[in-house]
Amino acid sequence: MRIQYPENIKIIGVPCTGKVDVLHLLRAFEKGADGVYVVGCLEGDCRFNSGNLRARKRVEQAQHILESIGVGGERVQMYNLSSGEGPRFAEIAVEMTEKIRKMGPNPIKISKEKNGCMI
């Protein structure tokens, strides 16, 4: 459908969102990502029965951790949509981008720049 969406979205493919490990989500933030979202099949419509429900739990777990360490739990989100919902995909991309813009960059990044320390 070629609906335009913000270019800051980069997609990493997995066979099922159930494959998304909370460690993968955290690693992205550790490396400086400003936001991550997981896009799975509609609930109740997972090709692998419950993979997307598990993914939602992983996202919630990551949200909780990110919130408690001051990075911001809202930076990671879960969305569900079917393969026929191109416009919704673009809408989500916009929505997520706006949400993250409002939150500002990953605070780790800011802190790094300020302190100039090395890993």
């Binding site: 460690l23 955290l26 550790e30 408690s68 360490i69 790094k112 090395m118």
Partner: protein, 222 residues
């Protein structure tokens, strides 16, 4: 299995705030099975701590290791070569593992990363419940296989108390009354008459009251 749960990340952060080199040590036994301190949890905690301290502008070295068991010398020995590189170890093992590590590496501070809860079972994924308090003298044979010591809020040996309501314990409507379970099972086994046998005053000396316990099997020692 020993069931533990993760400590709040805030508490762990407070504990290691003043150090620079941290080793997070998981255990591949009980705490892996109850998803509190296996390799994956080690990874999650390490990642969270790294992010937290980066955000604080603090340069920390945070490494990860997961031992097969922390309650055995030989496995703990694997840390010998590297332990001096760290200011502090966060052990995600149960209390036994944390202590054994602390005993072994006297000069290194060892902090617990989980709260050790009880010996219990997996009711379903994500739900564990207590079954045993290790009293040292098992009476399950007399109580239809249900332990009033670990499962009754008052450890009443001749129950139920007056708080048993509709099969649930007075302290928590979700909690089964152990004595109801015992009675149901006795009934099922056709042994309800056994209920009237008074369980005598218990000898608690084999429990923690008798001081730290040891099991020594001379036949196994050389």
């Amino acid at each position: 299995m020993i069931v533990a749960k993760q400590k709040p990340i805030e508490e762990i952060i407070e504990g290691v705030r003043d150090y620079e080199k941290i080793l997070i040590a998981g255990c591949n036994e009980c705490v892996t099975v109850c998803e509190a301190g296996g390799k994956k949890e080690v990874g999650i905690l390490a990642s969270a701590l790294r992010m937290y301290f980066m955000n604080q502008g603090k340069n920390m070295k945070i490494d990860e290791v997961t031992l097969e068991r922390q309650c055995d010398h030989e496995y703990l020995e694997e840390l010998r070569k590297i332990i001096d590189r760290y200011d502090v170890v966060i052990s995600l093992a149960c209390g036994a593992g944390v202590q054994f590590m602390a005993e072994k590496y006297f000069r290194t501070r060892v902090l617990p990363g989980v709260d050790t809860c009880f010996m219990g079972v997996t009711e379903e994924r994500g739900v564990w419940s207590e079954r045993c308090q290790g009293c040292g003298k098992c009476i399950l044979g007399e109580t239809a296989g249900i332990c009033p010591i670990s499962r009754c809020a008052k450890r009443i040996l001749n129950g139920p108390c007056g708080g048993s309501t509709k099969g649930k314990c007075e302290i928590d409507k979700e909690l089964d009354c152990a004595w109801q379970l015992i009675i149901d099972r006795l009934n099922e086994l056709g042994r309800l008459d056994d209920y009237e046998k008074i369980i005598p005053i218990k000898d608690w000396s084999t429990e923690r009251a008798g001081g730290p316990r040891r099991v020594v099997r001379e036949d196994l020692r050389l």
